[in-house]
Amino acid sequence: MKQSQPYIFISQLNKTYKSDSDVVALSDINLSIERGTAVGLIGPNGAGKSTLIKILSGIMRPTTGIIEVDGRIPYKDRKAHVATIGVVFGQKTQLWWDLPISRSFDLLRDIYRVPKQRFVRTRDRLIESLKLGSFLERPVRQLSLGQRMRAEFAAALLHEPALLILDEPTIGLDAPSKIAVRSFVRDLQRDQGVTILLTTHDMLDVEEIVERIVLIGHGRILADGPLVDLRKRFSFERQLDVDFFDNAPDLHLPDGIELLAKTESRISVAFDPNKHSPTDVISLVAAQHQIADMRLQPRSIEDFVTALYEKHGALEQ
């Protein structure tokens, strides 16, 4: 009996960089991803995210292990594989620097051999949804980063790929551009069923776009599951910043509430919302004092990841 295989199937994948002393970039990676899901790969710099992305893109071959995307082995069947994927690397450009964007698009049409009618339809839809109309005839070197990234997304999608790989796509973008990119990617997955693989250091990217998180650290998968579950499992910490009208008071904080910073008029604390309710923490910090401003937010991805590491370090001992 033949079992149907998931869209992306990775089993016991290892990658070692050969150099003076071998560097293990990925170790025993097992991952299955169904078509049409949005998955976030997170982890600190050097964790192995980019290596995994490059192997998935067919650019690099693993040292050992199995990887298949839609039944193809990316590094062996590179041309057929990459014809069905789109990639956006936030720190690199795939558009021709000296050419107007519209010429870059025409070139990509010829490279991917997109039939003319389909190309025109897809291109016009992307121009509209990414609002490229006003700078379509300008060369890439004259564009702002926000404009360029929107054009990069269009360039990655002109051949209507089934899988979109995004490597830090919002890095360096201003807030409106980030919001635009997030909602565009979300629509892409929801309306068109494109499978999304995203790496990012921006927690809001993760919250807005993905359904499932894969946490990578030291080349291993440390955690894998829906965002909500992970939060419960790994006490996803919150940060509370309180600004006072007068000097910030001295506080005696109970266990589990950590003082992050204290300036003349501001106090920042971190806490686990599963152990201390936000209401309690606010009243504790703000008690009897006039509050000028207040912010409650998730702690940064780095803090989250660091917390996860600590948990794992504890688990392994």
Partner: protein, 274 residues
């Protein structure tokens, strides 16, 4: 193989290269200056009998000098800065996520970038040294046309083979630059070697004794020397088929070698960073 992706890429890069017309014009003026200096030197050498039994006459030597200058842009003396840059920034990943053959793509790029400038400089030099100088009564300083139309045709075939081989060598250099992650070493080595062996320093027919004959057997002779020997009748008519066979051989070898190097480099390439 569907060639549309490659011709489209070729057109885009050709169009880009043609945006740098001022650079091409400056390059032409430099070639003109060097040409005049070399012609002056050869006149001095020949009129004072300083070359022992010269194998080619003064008008052949002068024509050879002008062809050298006209074709000098063909020489791959350094890696394409765009390739070096794409290695440094990691943008090379985008060359690998296209559903096309990377070698052919790089070949199309290299050809597109060099063909325009080479054709422009070649035409301007021929216009200046082949038409304006003789018309101004300075025929001794100018180019002499080939002795027959068939030689002209064979020169064109030979020059095309030269351009194709030059491109294959350029892609090979780019690939080695990519493999070593830096073009500095390749560039330092290539410059002296290529300039000498392609005949753009000393006309290879003027090398002493057997060296003149042996020099056509190495790949770089294909770029400037062999076409120039055919143009100036320094090569006898019966030798031409052999010379062209040598060019075809080296074109084949450089392409096969380039493809092999590309495959090896791309499977081993470890693209670093975000």
């Amino acid at each position: 193989m569907n060639i549309l992706p490659y011709t489209a890429a070729f057109r885009a890069w050709f169009h880009t290269a043609m945006q740098y017309r001022v650079a091409t014009l400056t390059s032409f003026i430099a070639r003109l200056w060097f040409g005049l200096v070399y012609v002056e030197i050869f006149h001095a050498l020949y009129s004072n009998n300083l070359i022992h039994q010269p194998p080619i006459g003064i008008s052949q030597a002068v024509t050879y000098v002008w062809l050298q200058q006209a074709l000098i842009r063909l020489q791959p003396v350094s890696c394409d800065p765009e390739v070096a840059n794409s290695i440094r920034t990691g943008t090379i990943v985008y060359d690998r996520v296209r559903p096309i053959d990377t070698y052919t793509l790089w070949y199309a790029r290299s050809l597109a970038k060099n063909l325009g400038p080479v054709l422009i400089i070649f035409s301007l030099i021929v216009l200046f040294a082949g038409l304006i100088l003789p018309a101004a009564g300075l025929g001794l300083w100018g180019m002499s046309p080939p002795e027959s139309l068939s030689r002209y045709m064979l020169f064109i075939i030979s020059a095309i083979l030269g351009i194709l081989t030059a491109t294959a060598l350029a892609v090979l250099m780019d690939t080695l630059g990519a493999a070593l992650l830096s073009p500095a070493g390749i560039n330092a080595m290539a410059f002296t070697l290529v300039i000498f062996l392609s005949g753009s320093y000393i006309p290879l027919p003027l090398l002493p004794g057997i060296w003149s004959t042996l020099s056509v057997l190495q790949p770089l002779a294909s770029l400037i020397d062999i076409p120039s020997r055919i143009f100036t009748s320094s090569a006898t008519t019966s030798a031409i088929p052999y010379l062209i066979a040598v060019q075809v051989f080296w074109l084949f070898v450089t392409v096969v070698l380039g493809r092999w190097a590309m495959d090896r480099t791309m499977t081993r390439l470890q693209i670093q960073g975000g």
